[in-house]
Amino acid sequence: MAKMNLQEKLAVLSDAAKYDASCASSGTTRRNSAGGKGLGSTEGSGICHAYTPDGRCISLLKILMTNFCIYDCAYCINRVSSQVQRARFTVEEVVHLTTEFYRRNYIEGLFLSSGIIKSPDDTMADMVRIARELREVHHFRGYIHLKTIPDAAPELIEQAGLLADRLSMNMELPTDAGLRTYAPEKNAEEIRRAMGRVHERKLAARDQTHSGRRGAKFAPAGQSTQLIVGADGANDATILQSSTRLYSSYKLKRVYYSAFSPIPDSTAALPLIKPPLVREHRLYQADWLMRFYGYEATEIASATTGGMLDLTVDPKLAWALANRQVFPVDVNRAGKEMLLRVPGFGTKSVARILSARRNGALGYGDLTRIGALVNKAKPFITTRDWSPGSMTDAENLRARFAPKPEQLSLL
């Protein structure tokens, strides 16, 4: 095989990395290089430097170190049994791409992941070398996300956590049985154990800081994982239950949901369907409700059909439609938890309502100015000058929100 140049390698190794949904670069410690030494800064919220026509944000240079892999995960373009072209970056090449892209303001940092070469330890050690070179030789202060390999030695994960802002390990399949079937070399228990270790290590770093000694920051932007949706038979209720477990046991920052999409050179074992993008979207909405709106996975599941989220209306509205007995809510009296359950009220609108109503009872027009989606909310609320009457319990309430059926066109 002719030797590939940097551009050819970049094409192969970014193509291979794109099935990872995460591109977040927010929530880490604030750093900058204003002293004149080093390059880069992080200031809380991440920045999307470009968008591709798939609507996804480009914040990080998301690449694989190599797409050679000794494992055989059915859903993955890099599995050993795939015929895809293989490539491998050197340490210097990854460092060069990261810093040169960064200097031109294309990216916030690096998301490095890798196929497994030789052994999990060898692979992880190479990834750590890249991160160390960036941090210690180039004084790179931008964002680094390392995909960690669960089977790698704890010392390597320790080093990774000290160099990176975020660590992630992908569960990929929502159930242990799914993982056994489609990723036979992986082990769900092992992944959870590794997540648990990272979580404990983060806690330890925090305790040290409390006791006065400054402990080194460990993965300050937390850890995340990804679940593939639509490759195995898991339904949404099962997926949300898995997420709840991951959030509560390991305090994950994010669970990403990635609609399984056809990959080049796929195996016969998996469906080559159109990726279920709406389903993915509904799962993100449900996940959001669990994290910021106080919903339990079981509550969301209770408003599904056979464990699947309603694709026509969002999960918050679905829950409200299924629980109309608790509505309408009085905007001028209700507590925060109840206001958060009103369709059309986001966390920001709720905060504004709580602070604005101290200046006097709110009316319908005030809610519009506050930025609430009043049209959506109106069957579920009362205000100084509005009451929904029989609207709340109307038979056709769901139809009001469901999109109009598409017009058939004549051929």
């Binding site: 794109k18 390059l39 920045i47 470009a50 026509p53 050993v80 031109r104 303001n105 604005a356």
Partner: protein, 285 residues
Amino acid sequence: MIYAPRLPRLGVFDVWRDAARALASNDVAADSVNWAMEEACDTLFGQGAALPAARAMTVPKEFIPLAKLVCASRATGAHDLLYRVLLRCRNTPHLLNNRADPQVQQLTALAKHVRRDMHKMKAFVRFREVTPQGSNRRQFLSWFEPDHRIEELIAGFFVRRFADMDWVIVTPEVTTRFDCGTLSHEALASDRMALSDDTEDLWRTYYANTFNPARLKIKAMQSEMPKKYWKNLPEADLIPDMIAQAEARVLQMQQTAPTVPPLRAARILGRLPARPEQARGQKPD
């Protein structure tokens, strides 16, 4: 009596604040003040009356950051609205917390537009390398067209991030320079510069390959990266072809039959530690 403070292109917030303090602390009604940028040079009011001497006055602490943003706004009446809200703040200290108030709502909307403009500038400035031979600091140049007068507000971001290199950001009205660690602004009219450098090819390669054709969502892309920014983004001229070919690429993936695993697959898998046999039941081929 009509007052007509004139606001300069650079340092607009400081001038607005000094004038507003002088006027508000003397209870000058908003209708007696005509705010305008110097460049607008309308002669109707000329310089207006001389500003009265300022007296001490306090403002709620949320007012200052809001005022800095709104001062940068190009929206008509922005400086006037800001002054009106300042006057009302004196008797209603919690006014800014009341988002249901129409003037507060308008003012926060103006600030939001400026903040969004700043965010887009952080995102879409593209530096091109112009380091001359023999220079010991690397030099970069960028052209950007912001909607509002945000050059001074945003410069700190680039200083904190790119302190080890020299850079210049040119906009139609202001040139911002960071030269050997020193930041400066100059009000200077400039025409658009078409720039490029070698690394752009690598970036374009990345952009094209990180795109998944099976998930086309053109509207989502355009709402976040409106077309008006495209002409200064090296990657943007790839977009039409990427969209046009997406469907065919997906179809091709679906129609290509699964391939036979390369020979080395069996060899490598055979070397891995043993795993339960039934687990491999679903193996392809």
